[in-house]
């Protein structure tokens, strides 16, 4: 029954330890989690491993949403677009150029960065709900593009991607693909964690908490927001490339609104103050979506809706982070 404690494919490392004393424990937890995660393919069968591979890829997308929503306070519904850009780029590279996983990830990263740079300057001018709507518009437009553009297969999607290879060795079995995805996801996690703890991360949290005050301190929030938007686009695209490496198929459904909404939901469920929380949220959301459903008699949404309501009333602080972003009422005075 080792599976139980490994259902959480997220390195349990605190995003920013507050006191040095905690750092040691956080490192120990991270090492333990990494070791457990790395051992998964030795223990579990192909399906659970492929599922955890997707969870890891999705967790990378969720990290990018957390970077924007949890750390910078910009709630987004558009990250699936960059996830999709990454997935399509990786699949195109896989179909037409090379099955080398590193090349696919690198190409996806650059494509995501470029896509975010092109669209981001529009989005970061807005705040709160308007930002949310603009990212939604970007997401829907990119989805529409994928749905109608024959070069990427249109609505039928892009199939025929060969198994991903690393260092010249093809990885046909689920377990090896898992290790590859785990390695890249861990790297992405490390990068995001570094950014979150850096002075830049502090700047972003300042923008989240009180953008007006940042300006009064002499900051120019615009470029800082644009920068994190591009970074988040690149991270999401890496997630997309990892997703494509496992599924070996990309379709417009992968960058649809549903994916964006689930990613945002993961951040909220996981608690957006930390990085490991949303990763855990990502795993939970995919687990529920793809597996946990046999016993709800078809009407689980009733239960779920009630749970939502109950959560709000019983643990209003449990879903911190997003709630801490500046509210309109505070902006007035």
């Amino acid at each position: 029954m080792k599976a139980v404690e490994t259902t959480a494919p997220a390195p349990a490392v605190a995003a920013r330890p507050r006191r040095p004393a905690r750092r040691g424990r956080a490192v120990a937890a991270a090492v333990t989690a990494a070791a457990l995660l790395a051992a998964v393919p030795l223990v579990l069968g192909a399906y659970p491993v492929s599922m955890m591979t997707r969870m890891l890829a999705f967790a990378v997308l969720v990290l990018s949403v957390d970077l924007l929503t949890g750390i910078t306070g910009m709630p987004t519904l558009g990250q699936a677009a960059y996830f999709g850009v990454g997935a399509y780029t990786a699949a195109l590279v896989g179909v037409h150029l090379t099955s080398d996983g590193a090349v696919q990830v690198a190409a996806a990263l650059l494509a995501g960065l470029a896509a975010a740079a092109v669209t981001g300057w529009i989005a970061v001018r807005a705040h709160g709900i308007v930002f949310l709507m603009l990212t939604l518009a970007i997401g829907e437009s990119v989805h529409q593009l994928a749905d109608t553009w024959s070069l990427v297969g249109g609505g039928n999607g892009l199939a025929g991607m060969p198994p991903v290879s690393v260092l010249g060795t093809a990885l046909p079995a689920a377990g090896f693909v898992y290790w590859w995805v785990l390695a890249v996801a861990a790297a992405a996690f490390a990068v995001v964690a570094l950014v979150a703890r850096s002075p830049y991360g502090r700047t972003l949290r300042g923008i989240r908490d009180n953008e007006a005050r940042m300006r009064a301190l002499g900051y120019r929030p615009g470029p800082a927001k644009f920068g994190v938007f591009c970074l988040a686009g690149a991270v999401a695209a890496v997630g997309g490339a990892l997703w494509a490496a496992q599924v070996r198929f990309v379709s417009p459904g992968d960058l649809g609104f549903e994916v964006a909404a689930l990613a945002l939901l993961s951040v909220v469920i996981g608690g957006s103050g930390t990085l490991w929380g949303p990763c855990l949220g990502a795993a939970l959301v995919l687990l529920v979506r793809d597996n946990l459903s046999a016993h709800v008699g078809g009407h689980g949404a009733l239960v779920l809706g009630a749970v939502f309501v109950a959560v709000v009333f019983t643990m209003p602080r449990g879903l911190a982070g997003l709630a801490r972003r500046p509210r309109r009422t505070e902006a007035r005075s």
Binding site: I129, L134, A301, G305, V312, P316, L319
Partner: protein, 290 residues
């Protein structure tokens, strides 16, 4: 040219529906900063009330009964939502709460009515078409336009000209100030929430003969209403009206003129407006923003 005139007319019909639906969303957001994600579900309640009461082809009396029943159901739901959101301090929590309610409501509707597509007939005397500029046009849509115009007038008088309206506008602008003046903003908020939800449900009945009722329609409608509200400007009646008319025309005239870009028109229009006016076209005047 005549073609486009009929298309403009049709855009007005859609705009009327959008106005009825988006108004409540806009005012609730403006007054309480609550993003009511259950608004689409309330619309769908109205649509299914119409399915239950009028089925396929009922008389005007039954149709009016459906409108009233939907309004009542919407008001009850809206009042309940208002009470629940007021008991919750954080905006994200409030949004989650309304999302939870939306889930419960929409799933209950699927349980009761199944996942098939339902369609509705217009009440018998309005079921036909008339000739306009040589084209057949459904009479019912003319009624919808008339309804939208009357609604706009009534709401405008109510919100812009009456004392109650002054309180509503003042609450949008600065809730704390209105409270300080000794006015019970709580009752106003609950009232507006309930009225807005009732309007959305009535919108569901009225749109029934045009859009039908099926699972998932709540999301499409919510999205459209959100676009209308954001384009028009949060918290303002005139903004909701302008946004609704504009989006109605984008989806009608825009599609007729630029069919190749139909998929992108809605969001392109929204992005264009927001780029030029980040607060929307006619935002509600608010207190000084520091």
């Amino acid at each position: 040219m005549d073609t486009y005139l009929v298309t403009v007319l049709n855009g007005l019909a859609m705009g009327s529906l959008l106005f009825a639906i988006a108004l409540g969303l806009s005012l609730v957001f403006g007054m309480m900063d609550v993003l009511n994600l259950a608004h689409g579900a309330i619309y769908l309640v109205g649509a299914y009330v119409a399915v239950a009461l009028t089925g396929d082809g009922a008389g005007p009396a039954m149709f009016v009964a459906a409108v009233l029943a939907a309004a009542a159901a919407g008001a009850v739901l809206g009042g309940a939502l208002a009470g629940m959101t007021r008991a919750t301090p954080h905006h994200l929590d409030q949004a989650l709460l309304t999302l939870g309610v939306a889930l419960v409501v929409a799933e209950s509707l699927t349980v009761v009515f199944g996942s098939d597509v339902h369609s509705l007939a217009a009440p018998a005397p309005l079921d036909g078409g008339v000739q306009i500029l040589g084209q057949t046009y459904p009479v019912y849509r003319l009624l919808v336009i008339a309804f939208g115009a009357i609604l706009a007038l009534v709401v405008y008088r109510l919100v812009e000209r009456s004392r109650l309206g002054a309180v509503i506008r003042a609450t949008v602008a600065d809730r704390a100030m209105v409270s300080a003046l000794g006015i019970d903003t709580g009752r106003v908020l609950v009232g507006v929430f309930a009225a807005g939800a009732a309007l959305a449900a009535v919108g569901g009945v009225l749109a029934g003969p045009i859009l039908g009722a099926q699972p998932g329609l709540d999301e499409k409608v919510l999205l459209l209403a959100l676009v209308v509200v954001v384009v028009g400007g949060l918290g303002s009646v005139r903004g909701a009206l302008l946004g609704a008319v504009l989006i109605g025309q984008v989806q009608a005239l825009g599609v007729a003129l630029l069919p190749e870009y139909a998929s992108f028109l809605l969001f392109a229009a929204m992005a264009a407006v927001l780029l030029m006016r980040p607060a929307g076209l006619l935002p509600a005047p608010t207190a000084v923003r520091a």
